[in-house]
């Protein structure tokens, strides 16, 4: 997507009349990186889900735009890659099957096979690609989530707790992915880890003064 931009205007969210955050306004263009940080329960995951388009805000809006005009709903799915502790893949399928089946739902694209192989190699799951995800360790599941997020090379990558469950090699992989994404797209990270916050140029701190 050319000249992809994320526009957030007066964004607010409340659950059962308790306000999580309100009045958030910012925009991100290709090459921007944003860290969302704050205490536990401050709404980082909530905000990341709203930015990923899977949760509706209570007020304000989030808009994805390409070349100046808003993107239609069908194409929004192609714009985001999302990694989150709340994300799960199908235990009864292998890594390869998961990626294939989910990708077929998202976009019915050809030359899928090579891309699935490539991304599995990238995240280090090539050896175990034909094992059912149900027997994966939590670290392997996290790597598979990255494979799922990167498969369609989205212009925007949103990572909630990017290094959870990962060993040192896994953390290196994430740093690599982050570096690559910052060059060509938008990166949003929700985290408490101060090192991870420093990966990003911009920062939002939630739950201050509320």
């Amino acid at each position: 997507m050319k000249h992809f931009e994320l526009i957030v205007q007066d964004l607010g969210k409340h659950f059962n009349r308790r306000s999580i955050f309100r009045g958030l306004t910012f925009s991100l263009a290709l090459g921007d990186s944003l860290a969302i940080t704050g205490k536990n329960g401050s709404g980082k995951s909530t905000l990341s889900r709203i930015l990923a388009g899977v949760l509706s805000p209570s007020s304000g809006f989030v808009q994805y735009s390409s070349e100046g005009s808003a993107i239609q709903e069908e194409r929004m799915k192609d714009a985001v890659g999302f990694v989150s502790p709340y994300l799960n893949l199908y235990d009864e399928f292998t890594a390869t099957e998961n990626l294939f089946l989910l990708s077929m739902i998202r976009t019915n694209q050809n030359s899928l096979e090579t891309r699935v192989d490539d991304v599995l190699r990238r995240v280090g799951l090539w050896e175990r690609r034909n094992d059912q995800v149900g027997i994966y360790s939590s670290g392997m599941k996290q790597r598979l989530k990255y494979a799922f997020a990167l498969l369609h090379t989205p212009p925007m990558l949103i990572l909630d707790e990017p290094t959870s469950n990962l060993d040192n090699d896994g953390v290196k992989l994430v740093k690599d992915i982050v570096r690559a994404q910052k060059k060509i797209g938008i990166l949003v990270i929700a985290t408490n880890d101060s090192r991870e916050v420093r990966w990003c140029e911009k920062k939002i701190v939630l739950n201050v003064g509320l």
Partner: protein, 223 residues
């Protein structure tokens, strides 16, 4: 439209998942066998007339629907894959995919139920085949349409099982009555024209439910 490809991909995923886990084959077929057996046992010394048997046929289909049609959404919730699906598919793709899956499932199960009835009950002899087939199909599809949207509504609640039955039952009365009525006519050998009013009701119900549900599903799916 590419969204049809997405819809079939959703069905494909569910079918493959089914193949892997064998839920429908194990649980639902057993449920069907159990339900028919109970009726067989209850009616063993009576000499059931065709209209009673038609009623029993639809009762079994009804309870099978109440038992098995919620899985398409509840299983995604239980495994935490609803979010995953939300990331890859628009609401319309998800709705029609799940509806298609449920429809195929209930048509398959009602066929099994029907065959069991034909085998086990002598009085259950179909005299107007065309009427019978259309009655079974339209009725089952109507059940599927209502069941799918209600399954989506209760998927995120607690006490899903009981709530599902409570919400679904009032909605299934219409196709149940029209289905029973036309099936009785099929067993008695009535001409097609007599069953036509029932078919009109079933067809209208099906169209209204699918159209309405597809419009409302967006509000159920997007939080």
């Amino acid at each position: 439209m590419s969204s049809w490809a997405g819809t079939f991909a959703v069905v494909s995923k569910d079918v493959r998942s089914e193949w892997r886990t064998r839920y429908a084959v194990n649980s639902l077929l057993m449920f069907v066998v159990t339900a028919v057996s109970i009726i067989l046992f209850a009616l063993r010394s009576a000499d059931p007339a065709s209209d009673l048997l038609a009623g029993m046929l639809w009762v079994v289909i009804f309870f099978t629907a109440m038992s098995g049609m919620s899985r398409v959404f509840v299983s995604e919730e239980e495994r935490g894959t609803t979010l995953t699906l939300q990331l890859v598919a628009t609401p319309t793709v998800v709705y029609f995919g799940k509806l298609l899956f449920n429809s195929v499932l209930i048509l398959f199960l009602s066929l099994i139920i029907s065959l069991m009835f034909q085998l086990l009950f002598q009085e259950f002899s179909i005299k107007s085949y065309a009427v019978y087939v259309i009655s079974l199909m339209l009725g089952s599809l109507g059940f599927s349409a209502a069941s799918t949207i209600i399954a989506a509504i209760i998927a995120k609640t607690r006490s899903r099982g009981t709530l599902y039955a409570v919400l679904l039952f009032p909605l299934l009365i219409i196709p149940l009555m029209a289905g029973m009525s036309s099936t009785i006519k099929a067993l008695e050998g009535s001409p097609f024209g007599e069953a036509l009013p029932d078919f009109q009701v079933l067809a209208a119900y099906l169209m209204v439910m699918v159209a309405g549900s597809s419009l409302l599903f967006d509000y159920v799916w997007k939080e």
